[in-house]
């Protein structure tokens, strides 16, 4: 667009446009963003920066905190894996097959986004409690679901499903079928075609969906606190531990753990961005 401009033009903050309102709208955007998001978030890091290192290290590595990391990251990981398997079935069925109730199924997938987390939390607890619909049968065979790590995993699974399905759907739609045809015409069986041709091209979307579901589960609070039972060292997730520390006026401890969690979710998102860049680069190379 700007190729006709002289190459030795001075460095400009923005390219010329006849449209008005740039200063007003960008100024307002930056001001509002700073007031609501950037300044409050920087408070978290500045708070931690004033903490002595050994105190910070102690706050983020005491046994109760370590136990909460293990539970939070472990159950989030299992939940994300379960969602990858079943989310694939859901996304594949929604894109490739036509069946009665398909539209309803498609809409229902977004339920965890639309249903407030506290509501899903108490509903899941009611289902999996000892006298609940499913909980009573699990109790009969000696499985404790609510108020155990299994209950936490169920909540983490609930919250992550839409991320996997919504990331996979467009990727499955984009498979043009030509590579599948080519593989089939060269004598591959449907199973071989699926594993050697279809799966590799869906892998980036699967990984992205997995990472998004994992990131969401790691930070989840509302749908987990009711079903987890919140026993320190056993079923206490990290988000709840932050709140507990705050209620005991241990601001430094709460802040230190929060920084660890925030950095963890930034790292996951960075990995997703890297993944998408890698996929984009591979795509460009292919062309």
């Amino acid at each position: 667009m700007n190729s006709s401009a002289p190459r030795f033009a001075r460095w400009r903050f923005r390219q010329h446009s006849v449209l008005p309102g740039f200063g007003l709208t960008l100024g307002y955007t930056v001001l509002y963003l700073s007031l609501i998001v950037l300044i409050p978030l920087s408070a978290l890091f500045l708070r931690t920066a004033t903490m002595p290192w050994d105190k910070f290290w102690h706050a983020i590595s005491e046994p109760r905190v370590m136990a909460s990391y293990r539970l939070t990251f472990g159950t989030s990981l299992i939940g994300a894996v379960v969602n990858v398997v079943f989310g694939f079935c859901v996304a594949w069925s929604l894109v490739r097959y036509r069946f009665p109730g398909r539209r309803l199924l498609d809409s229902l997938v977004d339920l965890p986004f639309a249903l407030p987390t506290a509501v899903s939390g108490i509903a899941l607890t009611a289902i999996y409690a000892k006298n609940g619909w499913i909980g009573q049968y699990l109790a009969q065979v000696g499985i404790k679901s609510a108020f155990s790590p299994l209950g936490v995993t169920i909540a983490m699974t609930f919250i992550g499903l839409p991320f996997v399905v919504r990331t996979l759907q467009p990727a499955i739609e984009e498979l043009d079928g030509e590579s599948e045809e080519a593989a089939a015409s060269l004598g591959a069986t449907r199973w071989q075609t699926f594993w050697r041709v279809t799966m590799p091209s869906l892998l980036p979307a699967l990984l992205t969906g997995f990472a998004l579901a994992f990131a969401r589960a790691v930070g989840e609070y509302g749908s987990v606190v009711f079903i987890s039972g919140n026993m320190p060292l056993k079923t206490e997730i990290t988000s709840l531990l932050i709140i507990t520390k705050l209620e005991q006026y241990d601001y430094a401890g709460a802040t230190a753990i929060a920084v660890v969690m925030l950095l963890a979710s930034f790292l996951i998102l960075l990995a997703i961005n890297g993944l998408q860049w890698w996929v984009g680069a591979a795509g460009r190379k292919g062309v």
Binding site: R96, Y97, P116, E181
Partner: protein
């Protein structure tokens, strides 16, 4: 060209069996999908209503005979009523700046706008405690003027604004970017003022995306739990929103009352899903019309 198409059609016809999944695979996958979504998503939704009505609809209605419940509903409406217009105006301003102009640091700005999505709910509340709480930066100074933000209504509003911050902006920005600024330039050259151009040209073009963003923003604003839980202090009838009131009732073993309150939020969730499904079609149509203007008549 036509030859290629027929050749491809032949190829599809020949290899249909090896490209399409066998019938048993098809039905197995559909059954697994319906079973999983039914068990993990539909069952919890159904449970909310079954638990709320377990003692009949009289008991259900009695749950609303509680002043604290109505206070909670009012506070939820207030928090959503403030954060919606704020984030709507921000979304429109941000998308105008980002979509209609080329400037340095644009992609950084887009990333920063999405930042609140990467921050977990509890941390979203915590950052405001660190600033406005009694041990926070501004806490002692505010206390001198007898202004309370944490464990009071302003804190709840702030936390709600934070968690719903990107919703409207991220729906409008990509659509406006796709649409470019040709129509605006035409309007301006025909003598329209900047405001006229915005109200008569830009806004009508993105109206469905705006509505879509507002619906999502509203659902989150009314349902937010973790962030407001940190800043609320749980003072019954004063600083409790509907989700927080549900929590209090549930912890007091008032199961019917808790699920009755929850049922309002569940209805809101179902309505949101319906509106979302409808608006998604409208937004996609707006994208298609941008790509090929002739589709507008089709």
């Amino acid at each position: 060209m036509a030859g290629v198409t027929t050749q491809r059609a032949k190829l599809i016809g020949r290899n249909q069996a090896s490209i399409q999944d066998p019938v048993w695979v098809r039905w197995l996958l559909i059954a697994i999908s319906i079973g999983f979504v039914g068990l993990f998503l539909a069952l919890p939704l159904l449970t909310v209503f079954l638990e709320a009505f377990q003692d009949g609809w009289r008991a259900y209605l009695r749950s609303f005979n509680d002043p604290a419940a109505w206070k909670a509903i009012k506070l939820t409406l207030l928090a959503a009523g403030i954060s919606l217009p704020l984030n709507l105006v921000f979304g429109l301003a941000a998308s105008w700046a980002i979509a209609k102009f080329e400037f340095r640091g644009k992609s950084l700005l887009i990333t920063l706008i999405d930042l609140p999505f990467a921050v977990s709910p509890v941390i979203s509340g915590l950052i405001y405690v660190l600033i406005f709480g009694l041990q926070g930066w501004l806490g002692p100074w505010l206390a001198g003027y007898d202004i309370k933000i944490i464990f009071a209504v302003p804190g709840i509003v702030l936390a709600t604004v934070f968690v719903t911050f990107p919703f409207v902006a991220r729906e409008i920005i990509p659509l406006m970017q796709e649409q470019g600024d040709d129509e605006e330039q035409a309007a301006l050259s025909l003598g329209a003022s900047g405001w006229q151009t915005f109200w008569r040209v830009t806004l009508p073009n993105v109206k469905w995306a705006v509505l879509y963003g507002v619906i999502l923003c509203n659902a989150r604003a009314m349902g937010e739990f973790g962030a407001v839980s940190v800043v609320s202090g749980h003072i019954r009838g004063k600083t409790t929103t509907v989700p927080l009131h549900v929590e209090i009732l549930y912890n007091e073993y008032e199961v019917v009352a808790a699920f009755s309150m929850a049922s309002i939020l569940a209805v809101l969730g179902v309505l949101t899903l319906a509106a979302k499904t409808f608006l998604e079609g409208k937004v996609q149509q707006a994208y298609r019309e941008t790509l090929e203007p002739s589709a507008a008549e089709a």
